[in-house]
C-alpha cells in the first residue's frame, strides 16, 4: 500500500511545503514559541509513528469499505433475481406504478449513478436507504438488530475464550495424558461438527416442546435484555454454548500447540533456573507468550461474528444482523443487503486494525509503522 500511496504522499508534501515554511517562520516569533510550547507535545503525539500508522490504517479502511461496497453493489445489482421495483411497489401494482417506483429509487439510472447516489447519501446524511419490503430505514433496521447479535457473540465469546484457553493450558501441561487425549479428541469433534447440527441435536434432546428432556426454551424465544433480562438470558444460554463450542475447540487446540512450543523455549528454562514457582513460570512466562496469537484470532473471530452469526441466528431464530442479511439476500432486498454487507465488512476491517494495535501493545518487539 505504501508503494501505491507514495506518489500521493509526495504530491501532498509538495502542496503543503509553502504551509510548512510559513509555519516554521511563525514558530520563530514569540507567540509562535508560546503555541509550540503549549501544543508541541500534543502535535508530536499526533504525528508519532504509531499515530501515523493508525491514520494510514483508517484511510485504508475507508478505501476498503468503498471497494467492498462497490463489489457488493456490482454483484447484487448484476444478479437477476426479481425486479426490486416491482417488489417495492407491492403486489398488484401496474407498470406505471412500478416505473414510478423505479424512478424514485434511482433504479432507472445507470449503475454508476446509482452507486454514487448511494455513497453520497451515506456520506452526507448517514442514509443507507430504505428496506424494499418493510420500508424501514436501513441504518435503523441494522442498529435495532445489533443488540441481539452483540448479545449472542459477546456471551459466546466469553465462554469460548475462558473454556478454550483453560483447556488448552491444562492439555499442554500434561501432553499425552488421559485428560489431554480426551479433550483434544473432543476438540477435534468440536471443529468437525457444523454449529447448526449441534444446535439441532441440542434442541432434539432438551427442547421444551419436543425434546427428550424438557429443559430449554424453544427457538425464537429471544427477548431484548432491556425488556426482560431473565428471558434474554435463558433464551441465549444454549445458543451461546453451541456457538462457543466450535470456537472453544479451535482455541483449545491453538492454545495447546502454542503453549507446548513456548514451554520448550529457552526463556522458560531461565525462569525455572531463577527459582520461580511452577505456577509463575507457567502463567507469567509461558501463558503470557502463548496467548498472543489467541488475542489475534479472538479479535478477528469476534469481528466476523459481530457482522452477523448467520447460521446460529437462523437455527435458533434470533433476530440479529445475520438473519436480517440472510432474509434480505433471499428477498433481493438491495438496500438492506448493501447495508449489512458494509456493516459486516466494517467490523472485519476494524477488528483487523484493533488486533494489530493490541498486538503491538502486548509484544514490545512489534512496532507499528
Amino acid at each position: 500500500m505504501t508503494r501505491l500511496l507514495a506518489p500521493v504522499v509526495r504530491l501532498l508534501a509538495r502542496l503543503l511545503a509553502p504551509v510548512a515554511a510559513l509555519w516554521d517562520r511563525f514558530a520563530r516569533t514569540l507567540p509562535g514559541r508560546v503555541v509550540v510550547r503549549v501544543f508541541g507535545p500534543t502535535v508530536r503525539r499526533l504525528v508519532s509513528p504509531t499515530a501515523r500508522y493508525i491514520y494510514r490504517r483508517l484511510v485504508w479502511m475507508v478505501f476498503l469499505l468503498l471497494v467492498v461496497s462497490m463489489l457488493a453493489f456490482l454483484i447484487f445489482y448484476a444478479l437477476p433475481s426479481g425486479d426490486p421495483a416491482a417488489q417495492r411497489a407491492g403486489k398488484g401494482a401496474d407498470q406505471a406504478q412500478i416505473d414510478r417506483v423505479k424512478h424514485t429509487l434511482f433504479l432507472d439510472r445507470p449503475i454508476y449513478e446509482q452507486y454514487f447516489h448511494y455513497i453520497k447519501q451515506i456520506v452526507l446524511h448517514f442514509d443507507f436507504g430504505f428496506s424494499y419490503d418493510t420500508n424501514a430505514d436501513v441504518a435503523h433496521a441494522i442498529t435495532s438488530r445489533l443488540p441481539a447479535t452483540i448479545s449472542l457473540a459477546a456471551g459466546a465469546a466469553v465462554i469460548w475464550l475462558i473454556v478454550g484457553v483453560l483447556i488448552g493450558i491444562l492439555s499442554a501441561l500434561r501432553p499425552r495424558s488421559f485428560f489431554d487425549r480426551l479433550v483434544m479428541g473432543g476438540a477435534l469433534l468440536g471443529i468437525s461438527a457444523p454449529v447448526y447440527w449441534l444446535a439441532l441435536v441440542a434442541l432434539a434432546l432438551f427442547s421444551q416442546s419436543y425434546g427428550v428432556i424438557h429443559l430449554i426454551p424453544d427457538t425464537g424465544a429471544y427477548r431484548p435484555l432491556t425488556e426482560d433480562p431473565g428471558a434474554w438470558f435463558t433464551s441465549l444460554i444454549v445458543p451461546w454454548c453451541i456457538l462457543a463450542l466450535s470456537f472453544a475447540a479451535i482455541y483449545a487446540r491453538l492454545m495447546r500447540a502454542n503453549l507446548l512450543e513456548v514451554l520448550d523455549q529457552d526463556y522458560l528454562r531461565t525462569a525455572e533456573a531463577k527459582g520461580l514457582s511452577r505456577r509463575r513460570v507457567v502463567v507469567r512466562h509461558g501463558v503470557r507468550s502463548a496467548i498472543t496469537p489467541i488475542v489475534t484470532a479472538f479479535g478477528l473471530d469476534l469481528g466476523i461474528l459481530l457482522g452477523g452469526a448467520v447460521l446460529t441466528e437462523s437455527v435458533f431464530n434470533i433476530p440479529g444482523i445475520g438473519r436480517l442479511s440472510y432474509d434480505a439476500i433471499v428477498a433481493s432486498n438491495l438496500p438492506v443487503i448493501q447495508g449489512t454487507v458494509l456493516f459486516a465488512a466494517f467490523f472485519i476491517i476494524a477488528a483487523n486494525i484493533l488486533v494489530d494495535i493490541v498486538y503491538a501493545l502486548i509484544d514490545p518487539r512489534v512496532r507499528l509503522a
Binding site: 501505491l4 447448526y196 479451535i250 491453538l254 439476500i329 433471499v330 433481493s332 454487507v341
Partner: protein, 326 residues
C-alpha cells in the same frame, strides 16, 4: 466461515530432518517420501486415510451400493411410507434411516449426499489451491507492483463477509437460468465456484509468504545466476518446494469446504432439491423438528467425513513438522 485456518503460515516449507530420518538419509529421498514415511507410522492418520478412501468409494459407487443394500432409490417418493397421522415413517425394515417429508429414503439420500459433499469440497479445494498457488507464486516471486496489487486484492476479499457473498451469489444464481448472463449456471457449479473464491485468498497468502522466503534461498539464486528463465525458476525450483505445505493446507481446506457447502445448502441457497446433500437435509430437519432421523443421519455422515479429513490434516502437519508433535 466459522473455522478459520489456524495453521501457521510462517512455517518453513522445507521438511526438517530428524535423527531417525537421518539414519536412512544416505539414500536421497524426496520430501514427499519422507512425509509419507512419517505418515505411515501415524496410526490415526492411516485410519483416517482409510476412512476417506471408503467415503470416496461410497460416493463413486453410490448407485451400486444403494442397490446392493436393497434401498429405494433416493428420488423415489414412497406415498405409503407414512404412519396413521400421515407423518413420515421413522427407521423401519425397508427404510433403515426412515423417510423424509416426501417419502424418500433417508439412507439412500445420505449415501448419495456423499457424492455432493466430496465432489464439491474436492473440486473447490483444487480450484482454490491452483488459483492460490498461481497468484501466490506470482506475487511472491515478482514482488513489486504485482505483489502490491495482489496483496490489496486479497485484503479486499478477506474483508468481504464471505458467507454473505456466498449466500448472495448462490441465492441469485441457483434460481432460474443462472446469473451474469448465464455464465454461472445453477446447481453444484455455483457452489463450487463460491467456495473456491472463499478459500483461495488463504492459500495465496500462505504460498506468497513461502515464496518470499524461498526466492532468497541459494538454489534459486544459483538458478538465476546461470540464466534460468522466470518460468523455469518458478516451475522447476519454487513449485516443487511448495508441494508439501500445499498438501497440508489442502487437507485443512477440504473439511472447511465440506462444512461451507453444507452451510450454504442448509440455508437453502446451495445444492438444490432433488439433488441430495447433507446440509440441505439438515435444513429440512430444522423445519421438521419432530422427526429426529431427519437430522441425525446426515449430521453423523457430515461429522464423520469432516472428522476424517481433519484427522488426516493433523497427521500431515505432524509429519511435516515432527518437532511440533502433538
Amino acid at each position: 466461515m466459522s473455522t478459520p485456518i489456524t495453521a501457521d503460515p510462517g512455517q518453513p516449507p522445507v521438511v526438517p530432518l530428524t535423527d531417525d530420518d537421518a539414519a536412512s538419509a544416505d539414500v536421497a529421498r524426496s520430501q514427499r517420501q519422507i512425509l509419507w514415511g512419517r505418515l505411515k507410522r501415524d496410526k490415526v492418520a492411516l485410519v483416517s486415510l482409510g476412512l476417506i478412501g471408503v467415503l470416496v468409494l461410497v460416493a463413486i459407487l453410490a448407485p451400486l451400493l444403494v442397490q446392493v443394500l436393497g434401498l429405494p432409490s433416493p428420488d423415489f417418493q414412497d406415498g405409503q411410507a407414512v404412519n396413521e397421522g400421515g407423518e413420515p415413517l421413522g427407521p423401519n425394515s425397508i427404510n433403515p434411516f426412515g423417510v423424509d417429508q416426501l417419502g424418500r429414503d433417508v439412507a439412500s439420500r445420505v449415501i448419495y449426499g456423499a457424492r455432493v459433499s466430496l465432489s464439491v469440497a474436492l473440486l473447490s479445494t483444487a480450484i482454490s489451491v491452483t488459483l492460490g498457488t498461481l497468484v501466490g507464486v506470482l506475487a511472491g516471486y515478482f514482488r513489486g507492483w504485482v505483489d502490491a496489487i495482489v496483496s490489496r486484492l486479497l485484503d479486499v476479499l478477506l474483508a468481504f463477509p464471505i458467507l454473505m457473498l456466498g449466500i448472495g451469489l448462490a441465492s441469485a444464481c441457483s434460481i432460474g437460468s443462472g446469473c451474469l448472463g448465464g455464465l454461472i449456471t445453477p446447481g453444484v457449479p455455483v457452489v463450487v465456484i463460491i467456495i473456491a473464491i472463499a478459500g483461495f485468498p488463504f492459500i495465496a497468502r500462505i504460498v506468497r509468504g513461502q515464496v518470499l522466503s524461498l526466492r532468497e534461498e541459494e538454489f534459486v539464486l544459483a538458478a538465476r545466476s546461470i540464466g534460468a528463465s522466470h518460468t523455469r525458476i518458478m516451475l522447476r525450483h519454487l513449485v516443487p518446494n511448495l508441494v508439501a505445505p500445499i498438501i497440508v493446507y489442502s487437507t485443512v481446506l477440504v473439511p472447511q469446504n465440506i462444512l461451507f457447502e453444507a452451510s450454504l445448502s442448509f440455508l437453502g441457497v446451495g445444492v438444490q432439491d432433488p439433488t441430495s446433500s447433507w446440509g440441505q437435509m439438515l435444513g429440512d430437519a430444522s423445519k421438521n423438528t419432530d422427526q429426529w432421523w431427519f437430522m441425525l443421519f446426515p449430521g453423523l455422515a457430515l461429522l464423520l467425513t469432516v472428522l476424517a479429513f481433519n484427522l488426516l490434516g493433523d497427521g500431515l502437519q505432524d509429519a511435516l513438522n515432527p518437532r511440533k508433535r502433538r
